[in-house]
Amino acid sequence: MSNEKKMSRRDLLKLAAAGSTGLVMSGLPVRVIAQDSVTIKVQTAGLDDNTLQPVADIMVARHPNVNVEWVVLTGIDHEEVAAKILALVAAGESIDVGYAATEACQLFAGQGLAAPLDDLVTGDPDQDFWTDFFSDVHPSLVEAMMYEGSLYEPPRDFNAANMYFNTNVLAENGFDVPGPEWTKDDFVEIARGTTKKDDAGNTEAFGYAWTNRLWGSWMPWIFVAGGNLYTEERAPGGDWVWDGYYDGDAAADGRGGGFRWREPIANSPEVVEALQLNVDLWQEGVTPDIEMGSGQTLTGFYSTGLLCMTPAGGFWAGRLGNEGMEKGEFDVQYWPNWRNQKHQFGTGGHWLATVAAAPDEAWEFMKIEVSHEGFQSSQFFNPVIITTPSRRSYSQANAFESTGPANSDVFYGTLDDHPSTSPIPAPPWSNPMTTIFTTGTSNAMSGAMSPKDALDQMQQELEDLTARQPQYYGDD
């Protein structure tokens, strides 16, 4: 036993030496990891196993008896990855650590597949780790990972919907990158002004384009128009994190125990107006036909100068570089102001499976992933940023030095400078909700239905869906 303790202490020393904030040795007994050979199964989305391998390497270096096995699940978007995880658990296969973005966080929590982390955090002898972590992570990200008072995932990354510009296209048409307070009308002017058509009336270069999905898409317009898909309330609880780790942080004031999205409001006038704006731009030929999973088209358009603006988050910075775009050829700005400038984001991280065979080692892995070492080695953030780090200290301008954009401070600024920013609606029934949302969207965006009719139908479907759900949220 003493041997194990010493090992862990040495780890802590290493951690302290490497960490940029300087951890204080607490002298409390550190958690002990068993010496028997243990395999933890970590599920990752997409092709992230290579990306996360350095984190696993740290884990194995510290605990040579632990073996990290990847369970790689893919899908075109979060809801498909979530479906795969559900199938995996349904098939009786156990995983120790699962991945979920905001889209599926409450889904796994609501099904009882993810374990609440409250006691693990508050009971962790290494409180400095958590003090340091929470001080580096905006409270809205933490709140977005909560469900009915409990925390289910330490946020690893997030992406807020900001507006990307192809600066060459802007310049050719006599525009500059707009300032942070630009408006919807400025946007429409730029979108129209950068659209080019041939003699036959076919658009040759588009002012604005997006992909049909829950995050991004036209959802940012719903928020700035003053609408939402569902009513947004805060569950009670969560004081342990706000009082315990965010005491004195004004940004944490008024936060609760996670969101409750109870009543669908998809056909409210604000939402109709937001969809109408997008349908108008499409009918004018400013926006191309929208598709699901059209990432190739979008990057193709954008990097070949056939597109001026598109909603994206920090994840696009490195990916555009990979597509051959040079620093300075693109830039980013806040979402334009309409009735307000409320931004939306989604955040991602790993959750601990209630069925985990090796919960201690799994938890240790989760901690390493969001530690300074994790952030310094993970290929999500190195050598270039391919998704926005949840930790403020890794989202600063220097992190985007090699790739751009010049306005990279808007990424974290969306959280710091826009207190109204909140997550995309994602109740525990987010999977069928997303299908209803994308279906209704393309009903309107293909001209098959008017925005109002499409949203009336969407509202009806959402009401039926919501009524079928068991009670996932408490009464008050």
Binding site: G46, L47, V72, G92, Q296
Partner: protein, 295 residues
């Protein structure tokens, strides 16, 4: 049939004759030209796939389209293996497909023989039951099958695809038809030679239905090599995927994968079936032409 078109012009008048010649020439060449144009349209997507798979990623969407693989960007093919465990997935596809094909050949030849040549109570009823299940697609029963496989602990293993595919109503039906074409007299001569029942089936009958076995093997190979729906549901981890899912995966999250790399995967997935096709073309085409029909 061409002969029928060339009717004796004999005693028709000169004007009618010229008209007939024109009709004949047009009748002979216009369809060929049309067929030829259509064949180009049909082959074009495959040519485009091949040439784009050898083009640099950023040139994938060139307008006008290019047809010659000028860049020879072989690295797209290497990248397939970096993006997904394609080598492993090729092996998986091979195991799933061959496992299924061999299993089907064994089970269907036994069952087909029994239905065609053995006499027992309830044979016709059982045959009718087997035939009826031919119409039930896997999709209609996928939920119970998934639950069954889950209870057996087979989900996310290659067995989940092989085992349920081995019993084949279609294969049984097909081989029964082949066994039926073999004259019954043969059996009597076989018995005289002192062959036992197993030898009668294995040594005498089975070699005679080789064309049927070849047809079943090729059709089944093509079907299971290309299968998508069952793997999508019964397999979960990347490492267990066949290449159909590998190609799907290459499109990447939000389909941000490089088009050229995706197409390189498509081309590689085609190679084994094309080889099988070239080897078994005669059996396959003749099999479709004859075997599947007579009933």
């Amino acid at each position: 049939m061409t002969a029928n078109l060339m009717r004796d012009p004999g005693d028709v008048s000169a004007g009618q004759h010229r008209l007939q010649v024109i009709t004949f020439v047009a009748g002979k060449y216009v369809p060929i030209i049309l067929l030829f144009m259509l064949s180009i349209v049909i082959i074009a997507p495959m040519v485009w796939t091949f040439s784009t798979s050898l083009r640099k990623g950023k040139d994938s969407f060139t307008v006008p389209p290019k047809w010659l693989p000028t860049d020879l960007a072989i690295e797209n093919y290497a990248e397939v293996f970096e993006k997904v465990p394609f080598d492993r997935q090729i092996v998986n596809s091979m195991l799933i497909t061959w496992g299924t094909v061999v299993g089907q050949l064994v089970s269907a030849s036994l069952a087909g023989y029994a239905f065609a040549r053995l006499d027992f109570a309830g044979r016709d009823l059982l045959f009718w039951v087997v035939l009826a299940t031919m119409m039930i697609p896997i999709q209609a029963v996928v939920i119970p099958v998934f639950i069954f496989l889950r209870n057996m602990g087979l989900v996310d293993t290659l067995w989940s695809l092989i085992l349920p595919a081995v019993p084949t109503a279609f294969g049984t039906f097909l081989l029964r038809q082949y066994f039926l074409t073999i004259p019954i007299e043969l059996e009597e001569s076989g018995l005289i030679d002192g062959v036992n029942q197993w030898q009668l089936f294995y040594r005498i009958y089975l070699p005679l239905v080789k064309p049927g076995l070849a047809v079943l093997a090729i059709l089944s190979f093509n079907f299971h090599w290309n299968e998508f729906f069952r793997p999508l549901i019964f397999l979960i981890d990347n490492e267990n995927f066949p290449i159909t899912l590998g190609i799907f995966q290459l499109q990447g999250y939000m389909m941000t994968g490089s088009i050229a790399v995706v197409l390189a995967g498509v081309v590689m997935s085609l190679v084994p079936v094309i080889i099988i096709f070239l080897l078994g073309q005669r059996y396959l085409i003749e099999g479709i032409m004859r075997g599947a029909i007579k009933g």
